[in-house]
């Protein structure tokens, strides 16, 4: 399986080549990949059905406990099936939808890579591996949302989706590290067995917060729901795949996966059930204000994701069964409806449901598919959506906290969703025939195959829900409730959920009737809705830009001395702090000094200070010379004859060089204000003082044995030289000297080049004007 997933990435990279061979049939060729994976998964079903966990071990970075091991249990199996089956259908669908599109190969590359990332995500057993695939889905989905990259709205939506999910991803990474620390394992199948340890651990609360942030951003839970409807800028196959069946369910998958490890505490139950319920209502309510069919579906997806989160929060056996059924039902009908939306867009040229009407006569096959999927969305019998909704309402009645509030929210979401389903199905296909930008007709069978199959499955599983018993049982086992009795049925008798379903049918249809008037009212509310979390995101982004702008202006302003001051102050602050607190400021040194040594030091100081304050360049160079020769003298006095010779030579050359070149340079000018000079003096004194203190600290510390004793002892026997310093330079550390020679040679080449290629550089410059700038008179005063 690992080979297949990693090979899938290779296949993705080879799409441009395949496109050359197969042309517009490439999507069908690519669809073989997920299809064959689905077949393999089905062949593994007997193992899964028996309640076993299939562990495909594969090492990756053994030293860091990172493995590429895949774990397939019921939960992973269902997700992997959804990913591969819907993936294959979407690829088939995109053959028509993107037929002749210039960027078809690019689309196929990214969507195949996404598919493999998603598969890796749901199959990974190792937290690090899971995180890598998690981020890969974020990145590939960024590329898919921004597929129409010439459209600025698409680019903005892509970036928004990326920033929200990747921001949550960062929190998730922290959460995973904490999880691994608390559970002492990076392996999911081990972690889920240590639920009691994890729930009792001190790190439980922080790790739960981090993991939930990651899952909520990915699965578009309130208040991070806003990126999902914006992501509808993507081409419809992408929306059908990423934003209904797969990527947005990654967060839900993670929560379900970690349910046995982290679930069941008050924090988990309250957070998940409330956030989920609020997301449900927010999604269903915000859908009402839109007429764009994709936006309507996107908001109803938000509602679906909220339902799944809420069910995980409630966490009873019934709720987990409802989770599994609703997950499957939602993927089936939402995938179908998105593809229908794409067909409508493709055939009529508009996405606006109010601009369509009476299409059932022109597109009968599409109308049937839409009707079946829509009934499932509405939660009406005899479809799987109905089974899911009944189970959902039943489990809400078991909610351990705020049962009435959650029931109210769930009921509201139910009838609003019913209204959304009516809007999506009844508006375009029934009622008055309206003229659309393009004359519509049923699409080809290839395009209808995907939604048709998904809708048919919705109907089949709705009529015979018993077929799903083993699958749902396996999923629930994977979520840590192996004893749950799973007997799905369409008809549960007259009970409260049925009554609620009936009430929601009545209310939903009423809202559908009043929708046009309601929308007008919502338009008036629009400014209020715009103040939602998305405004917070925009403000955050704007603030980030202002902050980056400000700190760039402040720190990176182009003045070298500001960089220098900043660096030095940080140095003084950090090193000074460490010095003061580790060592104190009282050095333990004794001073023994002769008069002539003190005079030499005094000359050095005088020379350095004079070089700073002299107003004539020659005097400054002379002062530098005094300092340099005093240093040479110090070398003589303190047993370093070689240094003294070198220093004398270099000092002489330096003075000659400066005298030769400096007088072709401008005179000293006073360019800075007294305040600036004072500031520089303070910075300079602080740094100088730090150096002095550091050196005193070094001198008063204990000395380590010299490493040069070997060199002293072996200079003559091995190096055959009596001057130990010279032997070190040419023998013990000869490579250093070689490096030094390279540096000198490079400097010489640079100097030569700059002096020699004089005219060539000056080309195009007004030579006379330049000469006027150069100083001509001397400065021997």
């Amino acid at each position: 399986m690992q080979t297949a997933v990693l090979g899938g990435f290779v296949a993705a990279a080879m799409v441009p080549l395949l496109h050359r061979w197969f042309g517009s049939r490439t999507p069908l060729v690519m669809a073989l990949l997920p299809a064959s994976l689905a077949v393999w998964l089905i062949s593994q079903w007997p193992v899964i059905a028996s309640g076993d966990v299939l562990l495909l071990e594969q090492a990756w970075v053994p030293g860091l406990d990172i493995t590429l091991t895949f774990m397939i249990d019921g939960l992973a199996w269902l997700f992997a099936m959804l990913i591969t089956v819907i993936g294959a259908l979407v690829l088939v669908y995109s053959r028509e939808y993107l037929h002749g599109h210039r960027d078809l190969p690019r689309f196929l590359v990214v969507i195949t890579a996404f598919m493999m990332s998603m598969l890796g995500l749901v199959l990974a057993d190792n937290l690090v591996t899971l995180f890598v695939f998690w981020e890969l889905t974020s990145i590939t989905s960024y590329l898919l949302i921004g597929f129409n990259h010439t459209d600025s709205a698409a680019r903005k939506a892509a970036l928004q989706g990326l920033l929200v999910t990747v921001g949550g991803g960062l929190a998730l990474l922290a959460g995973f590290v904490l999880l691994a620390l608390a559970g002492d394992s990076w392996s999911l199948h081990e972690l889920v067995q240590r639920g009691d340890v994890l729930r009792g651990h001190d790190l439980y609360t922080p790790l739960l917060i981090c993991v939930l942030l990651g899952a909520f951003t990915k699965s578009a839970q309130f208040p991070f729901h806003f990126w999902l409807p914006n992501a509808m800028a993507a081409p419809t196959p992408v929306s059908a795949y990423l934003h209904s069946a797969t990527m947005v369910k990654a967060g839900v998958y993670l929560l379900a996966r970690l349910h046995p490890a982290l679930g069941g505490t008050d924090g988990w139950v309250i957070t998940l059930s409330l956030v989920g319920a609020v997301t449900m209502v927010t999604g269903a309510f915000l859908a009402m204000q839109h007429t764009n069919v994709k936006k309507l579906l996107a908001y109803s997806t938000v509602m679906g994701l909220g339902t799944l989160t809420m069910l995980l929060g409630i966490g009873t056996e019934k709720a987990l069964v409802a989770f599994a059924v609703f997950l499957l039902a939602h993927s089936l009908y939402k995938g179908a409806l998105f593809m229908v939306a794409g067909i409508l867009d493709h055939e009529t040229g508009t996405k606006d449901v109010t601009a369509m009407g009476g299409l059932r006569h022109l597109m009968p096959a599409t109308a049937i598919v839409a009707g079946v999927a829509g009934l499932s969305l509405a939660g009406l019998p005899p479809l799987l959506g109905f089974v899911g909704k009944e189970l959902m309402l039943t489990s809400v009645l078991e909610a351990p906290f705020w049962r009435l509030l959650i029931l109210l929210l769930a009921f509201t979401a139910a009838f609003l969703t019913l209204a959304v389903a009516a809007i999506i199905v009844l508006r375009p296909f029934f009622g008055q025939r309206q003229d659309t930008p393009q004359p519509p007709h049923d699409p080809s069978r290839v395009m209808l195959a995907g939604p048709g199959l998904l809708a048919a499955l919705s109907l089949l599983f709705g009529l015979v829900p018993g077929l799903l018993d083993p699958v749902v049982g396996a999923v629930v086992t994977g979520m840590g409730a192996p004893e749950a009795k799973v007997h799905l049925a369409l008809w549960h008798g007259f009970n409260l959920p049925l009554a609620l379903s009936f009430a929601s049918l009545v209310l939903g249809l009423t809202i559908y009737r009043l929708w046009d008037r309601l929308r007008a009212g919502l338009t008036r509310l629009a400014p209020l809705i715009r103040c939602g979390p998305e405004a917070g995101y925009d403000a955050l982004m704007a603030g980030l830009v202002i902050l980056a702008d400000g700190q760039t202006r402040f720190l990176q302003n182009g003045y070298i001395r500001n960089y220098l001051v900043m660096t030095l102050l940080v140095l003084v602050g950090l090193v000074g702090h460490a010095l003061f607190f580790r060592h104190g400021l009282a050095p333990d040194v004794t001073l023994s000094v002769y008069f002539h040594e003190a005079v030499t030091a005094g000359l050095m100081i005088a020379g350095a200070v004079a070089a700073c304050v002299m107003r004539s360049r020659l005097a400054a160079v002379a002062a530098l010379g005094v300092m340099g020769f005093s240093i040479a003298l110090t070398f003589v006095l303190f047993s370093a004859p070689d240094l003294a010779i070198t220093q004398l030579l270099v000092e002489t050359l330096t003075v000659i060089l400066l005298v030769l070149v400096l007088f072709r340079l401008p005179r000293f000018a006073t360019l800075s204000t007294p305040t600036e000079r004072l500031r520089d003096l303070v910075v300079a004194s602080l740094t100088g003082g730090l150096i002095t203190l550091l050196m005193l600290a070094v001198l008063s510390g204990e000395r380590l044995p010299r490493i040069s004793d070997y060199m002293v002892a072996n200079s003559q026997p091995l190096g055959h030289g009596h001057n130990i310093v010279n032997v070190i330079l040419v023998d013990f550390r000869a490579l250093d000297t070689l490096g030094e020679m390279f540096v000198l040679a490079l400097a010489a080449i640079g100097v030569f080049a700059m002096l020699r290629f004089h005219a060539a550089l000056g080309e195009g410059v007004d030579r006379d004007g330049r000469r006027n700038l150069a100083p001509t008179e001397d400065d021997h005063g």
Partner: protein, 115 residues
């Protein structure tokens, strides 16, 4: 001697940094000279300063009879002096070319790349 050198070196560093913070490019070069000298002295002095015991092996012997000054810092400083000279000559010529072409003595006028 070392504590006195510590103070001297501190002053040398302060002078070097003060000059490097000036806007005039020529003063920047002077700051560079001061800085390399101060750094060399720092390495030399921190290793311990010994009077009258140069690291030499007397003729006809295989090792010095008495303890000698540490030769390794001396070797390092020797390399550093020469390299500092190489850097200095490069910097001086660079400053001269910059002055010829840009015609500005003020570093503040050179802060944009599109001059």
């Amino acid at each position: 001697m070392e504590p006195l050198m510590a103070i001297t070196i501190g002053i040398l560093f302060a002078a070097a940094i003060y000059m490097m913070l000036r806007r005039s490019i020529v003063k920047l070069v002077i700051g560079l000279i001061l800085l390399s000298n101060a750094a060399n002295l720092l390495i030399f002095a921190t290793a311990g300063m010994v009077r009258g015991a140069p690291p030499l092996v007397p003729k006809g012997m295989t090792a010095p009879e008495t303890a000698v000054a540490d030769p390794l810092p001396q070797a390092l400083v020797l390399t550093a002096i020469v390299i500092a000279f190489g850097v200095l000559s490069f910097a001086v010529v660079l400053v001269r070319r910059a002055w010829e072409i840009v015609g500005a003595d003020d570093l503040d006028q050179m802060k944009d790349t599109d001059t």
